[in-house]
């Protein structure tokens, strides 16, 4: 087998840790171990939110210089949420490259750094599902519905959950 790069070693280690001690409601691993840079994860909707009972598949794409640069996380199919772009890409501070925020909005500690991990990303995404952050909205349409017509927003998400589980 070819010698593994730092990124591959680190990804395999994180995969091992996630398999041995998985956080509740989270499942993640490489789509195929031939390519450790592409992961697929399942995230359960947090209870007491409109995403409850849902299971949401997402793709993690790691850069070749991981863990220096953060991966991208994309829900596939896209999910209606104020902090998820219409194409499914998640926009939260932990997935933003390290350093100062040009808009001075996020503190550097919240952003990506090599001490973060896949597990921390997925836990952040779970809490993002439970509590959307409308101040740094990504999907403006979803933000509007979430803010002004919460009933309609909840209804659409529940519809999505039902369809996704074939009920």
């Amino acid at each position: 087998m070819a010698p593994r790069s730092t990124a591959q070693k680190r990804l395999l280690k994180e995969y091992q840790q996630l398999s041995k001690d998985p956080p509740p409601g989270i499942l993640a691993g490489p789509i195929s171990e031939n390519d450790l840079f592409k992961w697929e994860c399942l995230i359960e909707g947090p209870p007491d939110s409109c995403y409850e009972n849902g299971v949401f598949p997402a793709k993690l794409n790691f850069p070749s210089d991981y863990p220096l640069s953060p991966p991208t996380l994309t829900f596939d199919p896209p999910l209606l949420h104020p902090n998820i772009y219409a194409d499914g890409t998640v926009c939260i501070s932990i997935l933003h490259p390290p350093g100062e925020d040009p808009n001075q909005y996020e503190v550097p500690e919240e952003r990506w750094s090599p001490v973060q991990s896949v597990e921390k990303i997925l836990l952040s995404v779970m809490s993002m599902l439970a509590e959307p952050n409308p101040e740094s909205g990504a999907n403006i349409d979803a933000c509007k519905v979430w803010r002004d017509h919460r009933d309609e927003f909840d209804k659409q998400v529940r519809e999505h959950v039902r369809k996704s589980l074939g009920l």
Binding site: P57, G88, G99, L165, G166
Partner: protein, 190 residues
Amino acid sequence: MDSSTLAFIVILVVGFVFLRWLISPVDPLLTNDETENIVHRLNRSPDDVSARRIRRPVTDDMIEVVRTIAPQLTTGQIRMDLERTGSVELTIERYMETGNLPFPPGESRPQHTDDSENHNKPPAKTSSINLIEKYGLTSQVEQEEQNGGVDSTWHDDKEDRGSLLSKKRAEMILGARRRLASQLQKENSA
């Protein structure tokens, strides 16, 4: 002049010559054997000697080291400066002093594209919304709940790991489906 002064001067001169010889550059015209010989006598690895005189080629490792310290620099910037200085330390020192490094010709500051414009188009192709179809679980939907428990073993074989992962995936989806089904049932009967 007494003999001890003479001896002292002689030792100084010999010491000076010896030191000069010790730190003098390796003559590039020496053959490999001779170089090795000298290197051996100086008790240093060949890398140490040549690194000081000959510029090391820029390796990916060097770029990675610089990037750890200066994450906002582009690979092009780092490579150009490393080619100029030939040393990670000098490049980092330059970066620390100026806060930036010159861009190589033809490359400019990466444009910060507006993310919301890039990402707010619906994707061209998405996978099926129905997870039962997506993961081919139709045959397992009607099965009774399996008392699998959480299997957190780590198999040595990657095939085993992959199949365990997809098994856990199926369990998670089917579990969620059962919960939702019972919740819907409750709502309907209420």
